[in-house]
Symmetry: C2
Subunit: 136 residues, 2 copies
DNA sequence: CGGTATCCTGACCGATACTG
DNA sequence: CAGTATCGGTCAGGATACCG
């Protein structure tokens, strides 16, 4: 397996609570996985229930198989999603959220909902700034 | 000004609500800014009140001046933070959250708090997976 | 102090081809 | 169907030097 992932540098010390502001805290890594380009989208979609690989790929506009695979592996490694491979041919693999993943997805969903709601307002603000630039 | 930013492709059409799953929706861009490597951390720190450039730089472990500057500019452009430059010498610049930014920061904070809390559990799970691998 | 400009590297990511 | 392997391009982002 060599797709760019490297789980070897997982912390071995006991940690009571993470601190994202610290350079070396593994919490940064979790945050990175959850907020990576595709990570959040995958989690939010899985809130809708179990999905197969190809279902995820089609729901997420623009994702490549490679990145979907990589994203799923990282989130599985973090314990946020569960992979269930049915021993049939052709292969049938199902992805779902773990309890931990449900919580993670909920946070992401709230944020994404907020963004989608506020988008018009933000776009308006952006334009007004560009216009003001021109006025000066 | 040429630090890698390019705000020119801002959408001009009216949008009632964003859709992060669409390839071309600008909501993806906002999400990207908020969840970029440094964006979320800046927003959460600014929840604690007004900060100067150097204060932010010192609180966030590992950030470079360039990335802090770039991050601040993008978030300002999105209307999430406000930049106030005092006309004194030596320069004094204050960054704070806009009302919109407060909301954004709240979402991020919830998520980061959750991660920091669950970190031990996740780390444990990760290790158990690696151990199981060895057993097989 | 609060930035920019410039250069540069490696990680991210997409395209394609291939496999169990 | 559900991936992996490989290649190559783009771009985020770090280091350094410089400026108002």
């Amino acid at each position: 397996m060599k797709t760019g992932n490297d789980f070897s540098n997982t912390f071995s010390v006991a940690v009571l609570r993470g601190d994202v502001l610290s350079v070396d805290c593994p919490a940064r890594e979790i945050l990175k996985h959850m907020t990576s380009r595709w990570g959040g989208l995958v989690l939010v979609i899985l809130q809708g229930g179990v999905h197969r690989f190809s279902e995820l790929r089609h729901k997420i506009g623009g994702i490549s198989e490679k990145m979907l695979s990589q994203t799923l592996q990282r989130l599985e490694f973090d314990g946020l999603i569960k992979r269930k491979s049915l021993p049939v041919v052709p292969p049938h693999v199902e992805y779902s959220l773990t309890p931990l993943g449900e919580e993670a997805a909920e946070h992401l969903k709230n944020m994404i909902d907020w963004i989608e709601t506020k988008l018009p307002q933000i776009l308006l603000w952006r334009r007004s700034q560009l216009d003001t630039q021109a006025d000066d």
